[in-house]
């Protein structure tokens, strides 16, 4: 910027990098986000104080009834705790399982490394719904595992694997693993490899070098992956709908049913705001300690 040529004259009173021009360029995106994200969340927050009359009808008479109902009814607390538990379990499994391939891809001398990376991106192109329902072919009564075990005579009744919490978690791990692997991989790629050579040359075994150098330096990526997986898992409702039974419904399903099924908009708004606040505070806690940059890197792949 110091070398900005002086001979670029302002055109019609606009400087070369005029802030006004920046705002003009940003206007469409800003307008969209304000109208479709900020405003909806604000209106939703107001809606939590509306009075529910009957399905699809509510009044703007202010009331605390929705919040009171949420705070006192253990039914809702159960949903919230189960959702958080499923989110934590899912993201931890993703973290443990996803670290191996990330590390492998980073350190392998395999010539076609790009292929391994490409295969991680391919799932993003395949419809999420298809990826999820395809598990029915593995876990279902007519699924690969049951049919194989029955044929081998190891069981005489199909095992109930589908429509359980395990199946829901498995489906989520399946959909979130690429996010985790790419996040960890990106942070591994940023490690200066001479640090590891240095550790090795000073007498560290490979394992020690991994524990003392590689692992700590890859933690930001792991943390970003864990956050991303947790938020996406805890906010999801299509996976439980396809792979879970009614008992495995998560907070997202509760919101969907409250709004689309019971048409209780004020309560649906309240539940959405609760989920927003809970997930938002987890994310805020994370950014406080880790900053935003790692998430941006992870999203950019």
């Amino acid at each position: 910027m110091a070398t900005r040529p002086a001979d670029i004259r302002p055109t019609r009173g606009w400087r070369l990098y005029d802030p006004r021009l920046a705002w003009l360029l940003l206007a469409p995106a800003t307008l969209l986000i304000v109208c479709f994200l900020i405003l909806p969340i604000l209106v939703m927050a107001v809606y939590t104080f509306f009075t529910f009359i009957t399905a699809g009808v509510e009044q703007s008479t202010p009331t605390l009834a929705n919040w009171h109902e949420f705070l006192t009814d253990p039914y809702y607390h159960g949903f919230l705790f189960k959702t958080l538990r499923v989110g934590v379990v899912t993201s931890l499994i993703c973290g443990v399982v996803g670290y191996f391939p990330a590390y492998f891809i980073w350190s392998t001398e395999f010539k076609h490394k790009w292929l391994l990376l490409l295969l991680l991106i391919v799932p993003f192109w395949i419809s999420f719904t298809i990826r999820t329902f395809s598990w029915i072919h593995i876990l279902g009564e007519e699924g690969l595992i049951n049919v194989a075990l029955l044929r081998l005579g190891l069981i005489d009744q199909p095992l109930q694997m589908l429509y359980t919490e395990g199946a829901v978690i498995m489906g989520m791990v399946h959909f979130l693993l690429p996010y985790m692997i790419l996040n960890v991989y990106v942070s591994l790629e940023n490690i200066d490899r001479t640090l590891i050579s240095a550790a090795r040359s000073m007498g560290c075994t490979n394992a020690q070098a991994f524990r003392e150098v590689t692992l700590p330096l890859s933690l930001p990526g792991l943390a970003a992956g864990l956050l991303l997986c947790f938020v996406l898992a805890a906010g999801s409702y299509v996976t439980p709908q396809i792979l879970g039974s009614g008992r495995d419904a998560l907070f997202g399903n509760l919101i969907y049913d409250t709004i689309m099924g019971q048409l209780n908009w004020p309560m649906g708004a309240t539940l959405s705001i609760v989920l927003f606040l809970v997930l938002g505070s987890v994310a805020a806690l994370y950014t406080r300690y880790m900053g935003m940059s790692q998430i941006v890197k992870g999203l950019g792949g």
């Binding site: 920046a22 995106a29 191996f100 593995i138 279902g140 690969l144 050579s197 999801s236 709004i259």
Partner: protein, 279 residues
């Protein structure tokens, strides 16, 4: 840098890593392969075992008007989303990379916010906003919603590329009298082509694939491809759904791969041509 560990502990760790990596790749693709294989099943039921090879279910799928309608709807929505998001995303990235102004940091965060807020919340929020001003759900709102969801990714891709395009090129063009727009068209845009293509493709996929938010936003009576699949799954998993899944997989994986292959072949050809021209 040697990857083959010399010590014993390291050797076992490396074996475990390799084993887990293989397992993860199997885990990621086995269900998808099962769906593809089962789509050729002659059986009336959607599951294993295979009773014979048949293309019967593809024929049934082709006759299913609801599926064809949903497919067309999704295609249009995704096309419009891809075009608009790419334009808006590139403009946004341009402003965030080239300009200095107050509130830049905050805006950078604001722009990626749609990727961080769960779709359920975005879905409900927009629905309540529309309801509170007594507007019906329309296709326009659905598309604008999809643009919102795809925007962060397009901006991030364009931003990453724009940072590597040095501004001296643009300044050189302008100092020689090119207008702003001409500079953008002749200098910036050609250098951004890979990012623009990648961003457009990603926006298309995000829109074409969107399920959670579309369930809230779609106008009454409109089904997109994913919501149509969900509706079909409600009854039972039929071989028809498998055939549909396979068609979609071939499309969504095939198109980007083909695009990538063509692009790399073209650059290869160009490079060879310019080398010959140099001679």
């Amino acid at each position: 840098m040697s990857a083959a560990p010399a010590d014993r502990e390291g050797r076992w760790a490396w074996r475990l890593t390799r084993f887990m990596t293989v397992c993860v790749y199997i885990f990621m693709f086995a269900p998808i392969l099962a769906t593809i294989v089962l789509s050729f099943n002659a059986s009336r039921f959607g599951g294993f075992p295979m009773t014979g090879f048949s293309l019967h279910w593809y024929g049934v799928l082709w006759q299913n008007a609801a599926v064809v309608t949903a497919f067309k709807a999704s295609l249009w929505i995704a096309l419009v989303t891809a075009v608009v998001t790419t334009i808006v995303g590139v403009l946004t990235a341009l402003a965030l990379v080239r300009f200095d102004f107050r509130g830049k940091e905050a805006l950078g965060t604001l722009v990626i916010l749609p990727a961080l807020v769960p779709e359920t919340i975005l879905g409900v929020g927009l629905l309540i906003l529309i309801k509170s001003i007594d507007q019906p759900r329309t296709l326009t709102i659905l598309i604008l919603g999809h643009i919102l969801l795809a925007l962060p990714y397009v901006v991030l891709i364009a931003q990453a590329r724009m940072i590597s395009v040095r501004r001296v090129y643009e300044e050189a063009a302008m100092s020689m009298g090119a207008s702003r727009f001409a500079t953008f068209r002749e200098v910036t845009l050609p250098l951004l082509v890979p990012a623009v293509a990648a961003g457009a493709l990603l926006a298309f996929t995000i829109s074409f694939d969107n399920t959670s938010a579309s369930l809230f936003w779609r106008p009454a009576g409109v089904e997109t491809m994913p919501t149509q699949i969900l509706a079909m799954l409600k009854t039972s998993i039929s071989p028809e759904v498998n055939a549909l899944g396979t068609v979609m997989i071939v499309m969504t994986v095939g198109i980007p791969l083909l695009g990538g292959a063509i692009a790399s072949a073209l650059t290869h050809l160009n490079r060879r041509k310019s080398r010959e021209d140099a001679r």
